[in-house]
Amino acid sequence: MVDEDWSITVRGTVQGVGYRPFVYRVAKELGVRGWVRNTGGDVLLRAVGPVGALRALTTALRGQAPALADVRELTVAATPAGQQPPSAFVVLDSGPPPAPGPGGSGGLGCLPPDIATCEDCLRELFDPGDRRYRYPFITCTNCGPRATIVDALPYDRARTAMAGFALCGACAAEYADPADRRFHAETVACADCGPRLSWSTDGRGGEAALAAAVATIAGGGIVAVKGLGGYQLVCDALATEVVDRLRERKHRARKPFAVMVADLAAARVLARLTPADEDLLTGTARPVVLVPARPGNGLAGGVHPGTAQLGLFLPTTALHHLLLRAVGGPVVATSGNRADEPIVTDDADAAARLTGVADGLLGHDRPIRARYDDSVARTVAGAPTLVRRARGYAPQPLDLPVPARSTIVAVGAQLKHTFTLASGRGALVGPHGGSLDDADALAAFTDSLTALCRLHDLVPRVVAHDLHPGYLSTRYAARWTVSERMPVQHHHAHVVSCAAEHGLDGPFLGVAYDGLGLGDDGTLWGGELLLATYTGYRRLARFGRAPLPGGAAAVRRPARMALGYLAGGEFPVDALTAPFVDRLDPAEVAVVRRMVARGVNCPVASSAGRLFDAVSSLLGICDHAGYEGEAAVMLESAAATCGTAASALPWRIATADGLWIYDWSPTVSAVLGATGRVPVADLAAAFHRTIVEVTVELCVRAAERTKVARVCLSGGCLANQILAAGLTGALADAGLVAYLNHAVPAGDGGISYGQAAVAAARQAGEE
């Protein structure tokens, strides 16, 4: 039988995940000769052998790929004649990237996210007999930094932040040994040849640096720790005084801090975990997982004030493991920044910005090449769901339902900002970047976009952006010189982000429950039911409107929003408002009423999020939001403490201009009427139930009219677990199929992905 000679290209996340060693092992087993190497972002093989063996090889290339690999495309061609027949199978040095296509249409998906320390490395880390015993930068083919250290592709040590660390003899031997776990592990290092720790105040290194950091934390101090994608601020999570001090120094009044614990056992002490939560906690991405805290768990009151929800995560690197074991208890581990600034990545920057915040910096000499904040996730109805997508997830590409004809950049919204680069079927969603109001966050966005375009050799031809002219992302989009600009309505982008994740085709119903986004009629939207496709939408229903007295000021102050509903909402409230109004400053009430009456800086919004804010204030739960969404978070927390199944408050559906409108006035009246008589927790739960009932009614009507039974739920309000779980259950009971976001946030972090999906579909539709 004559051997065949195939050239195979594997596309997807196939570099930095142990793919070449895997190919090597399979080829050896099958007796296939040839070679494998990284090229551009792809893996290239030449395989020579009997056709049966080659078929088995290609099957294995997909089916048995390492867990962290994501094979998206596999092409086989006959190797051009005239090449030397290989005598064995070898791993070759990376070839140059393939010549860029016309206009630079490089592929996506070659850059893997960072991977938490694996079990094997962890065992070695604490094995006194191992040569990497207690080495903080221990990694292997299966774990370690990836996206945060890459300079250029293909992913090889020479093009990473590890380039400056020449392998010692022992490490080089492991790197070259096909039988070793560190065969071609680009991050391989040891105490003799790899990165070293340093302590800022006196330059101590190694174990002494670690000991200094541990002593500082144990002594009630704050330490800035250089993590994978940025510095983190770490302190004792049990000590009230230091947690409060951290809030003061970081200028972060109330937004919850994430807590890192040594292991799952320690996590179980602090919170009630479902098996799905535990999977999420221990997964390779190691996000901060939002879970219900156990009452009386000992955490300082300042860790998560006003909410029972706790953000927990496990060590992501060997350094974190060493630190947590030495400290012994849970630590606050929060982004190293002040207020709204982006997380600090640069050492000099850390010294300048964090010196006043931290009492010492635990750094090291491996530079951070790209900024990746910690990700935040939760389980909703057993499924992992991202609230903030960054380290461990980004920049893993997501699928687009309609492939992009040319490279698209979608610039996202304003807060919780992300951008998306789309090319072909792939959508590369950049890491969470914070609020663009901050000049440094805006610069970080443009830098990160430039870096990813360069890395993947992409030149955007189309820019997709929000309708809001004041978003700094929209302003940025206006300055791009591209062939086409595509404005995408905010809530269309929200619901499309959900549909696209699930690969739906055809029309779907979109429920966008959100804070605020600019509608196509110049008013603010946020409680919308749309009949949507990827290219367009028709509005079917909305929440009743209310003025925002003072615009953004009303968002910061839910009490003022509540006054807006009572004084100038679309529907009059015929209940006794005195008990609520009397609680407020009379001068403020007078001015706000006047503003509403005269329409002074009172944009109107049909927002679900603002209604949650208002009800939170009416119930006396939160009059002033210390961070974005606090009133709704506290309302959800209050509802979660309600022991019994709540029944809904009264509600009504009105009709105007061909739209169904949720008339919230009976609901608000009932809240006002029951306050003081019915426990707040019961009312909070009843309000959630009301929104669920209203939504089901609207969706059922819409399904009858449109014959569309699939409902995509998205928008910032879907971060509310009671709402998300309640809606999916109730919609299913009504015979509809509900979808939630999982891979991208339901909030504005998912907007750019939705924009990209819309732009790609419109592009395809136009041709």
């Binding site: 925002l548 007295p549 615009g551």
Partner: protein, 333 residues
């Protein structure tokens, strides 16, 4: 048309509709408060402005004073001494004669106090509903002060950003009295002429005074953004140095306004070469209209984004200070 509140949309109207209509007759260079026209070898400065303010009478002034000060100040921002003014009145039928007298007298007082003659005028009465009470149009002619040619495009890295006095008074006073918000007992308009202040600044700083602007509609934020864009430089402002009178701050807080977006009629912002900055600041403080003058920021060197204005906040972070886009719609989701 929703282009009324100053800032980006009015700029779009000018550059998108009005200037193209002029074709080759349109002025070249950046948009300025007034134009410099060489006549027989002498630089004559010309400016015109229409005044449509509601209410016509407000704490600290009225439309007559405003029409005089507005044009005097626009001339002053090109370093010109006002020489003569022309005033046109558009009066709605039925407008009270007593009010018209009051406005005219006030305009006369303001012109006399500013030392400028009103040399020409016009009056048109239009039908009921064709105008909202009373509009004024004022045109001014001025003479260039020797040794200075400030322009929005002349700013250089390292320049000091000077502000002649507190911001936010005019806009909040007008809004408060128009809408009955009750802040006007504490806040009066800052309307006043600034040409003497400018003369003192030029005398002290000469050609080192690179740019001058009175932050009227769109407020300080618009003025800074226009200059940053015209000169292609990054501007960094120190929030703690911004003079916002406490009653203005309180009103803005409750109204949800940024004082930097609120209109002023009696202060100016100047970009001055670092060598002359102290002398100019001292000269400003020597006059009542500049008594509270303060350095609020700097034109950044290499690092910043050209055309971007940032504010260093109290906590040390840097916020992007943007121009208003139409109504101030919240950007929060």
């Amino acid at each position: 048309l929703g282009h009324g509140s100053g800032g980006q949309l009015s700029a779009a109207l000018v550059t998108g509709v009005l200037l193209p209509a002029l074709g080759t007759a349109a002025p070249s260079g950046p948009l300025e408060d007034a134009a410099v026209v060489p006549v027989a070898g002498v630089d004559i400065v010309v400016s015109t402005d229409a005044f449509v303010v509601s209410p016509l009478f407000f704490p600290g002034g009225d439309i007559g004073r405003l029409a005089v000060h507005g044009t005097v100040n626009d001339l002053a921002m090109r370093a010109a001494t006002p020489v003569a003014l022309a005033l046109a009145y558009v009066v709605e039928e039925g407008f009270p004669l007593a009010d018209l007298r009051r406005v005219a007298a006030s305009a006369g007082d303001a012109a006399r106090a500013a030392g400028v003659a009103v040399v020409s005028g016009d009056t048109k009465v239009v039908g009921r509903g064709a105008a909202d009470g009373l509009y004024l149009v004022s045109t001014g002619i001025g003479q260039r002060l020797p040794g200075a040619a400030p322009s929005a495009a002349a700013v250089e890295p390292g320049d000091a950003v000077l502000l002649s006095g507190p911001i936010g008074r005019h806009g909040t006073a007008i809004l408060s009295v128009r809408e009955g918000l009750g802040f006007d007992s504490d806040i009066t308009s800052d309307t006043r002429p600034l040409h003497r202040l400018v003369a003192a600044m030029i005398a002290a700083g000469g050609a080192g005074v690179h740019a001058l602007r009175d932050p009227t509609r769109g407020g300080l934020a618009s003025a800074l953004n226009e200059i940053a864009a015209a000169s292609g430089v990054p501007v960094e402002i120190d929030e703690s140095k911004l003079p916002v009178p406490p009653p203005v701050a309180a009103a803005c807080e409750i109204l949800g306004l940024d004082p930097a977006h609120v209109a002023n009629e009696g202060c100016l912002v100047a970009f001055v070469a670092p060598q002359q900055a102290e002398a100019v600041l001292a000269a400003m403080r020597g006059l009542p209209e500049g008594a509270d003058a303060v350095r609020i920021g700097t034109v950044a060197g290499g690092g910043g984004e050209p055309g971007r204005v940032t504010v260093r906040t109290a906590v040390g972070s840097r916020r992007v200070l943007d121009m208003l886009v139409g109504e101030q719609l919240p950007r929060i989701c």
